[in-house]
Subunit: 106 residues, 2 copies
DNA sequence: AACACTTGTGAAAAACCTGTAAACAACGGT
DNA sequence: ACCGTTGTTTACAGGTTTTTCACAAGTGTT
């Protein structure tokens, strides 16, 4: 009955899209659906700069409307929750004028 | 697996699918068939978030119809009976937008 | 520094989801 | 047929998430 699960680590952070879960040191983060979708998208493209359009399309399924800030708002919330669990690591980098990048390392 | 020999504990709770029984401190809970099926499904996948669809398919044998709330109703009834027998333990956690998770621990 | 532009984030409103009581149906036993 | 039990569906209150907005803070250019 138990379903096999994909799992991968980025340092102490584990993301398991199939299980709708993200863990830090084995303890689950309590993320909302959107927050998790965003994390999964970023985490699936490490080291790569993703534009707001790409992120919005991946998470919301549609292109962002002009002046849409929802990606920024959710990046902010995700950073807050990741920061609470991993105070000393910076995971999401801003690329001004473009978008965001997820890097487990520098 | 031999009939009548499967048994496992989650704290003071024992679930014995083969015997159609769930016990707390050795005393059987009086669960209906549906309630027991739901408990067995959850209990068979500890720590794992099960979607409403997975739960419905496992307990009812079919995919839920749109706007079907039966899983929620039975989770509520199961919680009531488990809560009456184990007032201080939280066993079934809600994952908003996704489903439920059975965790004997946190 | 001043300016224009971009990003960060708290907070309110709107939308959506969950908990649960209650009504109703189906069934078996008496 | 009546009663008690279980299963199904509905309704509504309450809770959570998502969306949107406004302004603060940051960045880059001149």
């Amino acid at each position: 009955m138990a379903v096999g699960s994909a799992s991968d680590k980025a340092g102490r952070l584990e993301v398991r899209p199939e299980e709708h879960a993200a863990l830090v040191d084995g303890r689950p983060l309590s993320l909302t659906v959107r927050e998790l979708q965003l994390l999964v998208t970023l985490w699936s493209n490490p080291q790569r700069i993703l534009t707001r359009e790409e992120l919005h399309t991946s998470v919301w399924g549609t292109a962002p409307r002009r002046d849409d800030r929802s990606v920024d708002v959710y990046v902010s919330r995700l950073r807050a929750k990741l920061g609470a669990a991993l105070p000393d690591q910076k995971l999401i980098y801003t690329h001004n004028g473009i978008g965001y990048r997820f890097s487990p390392d520098g």
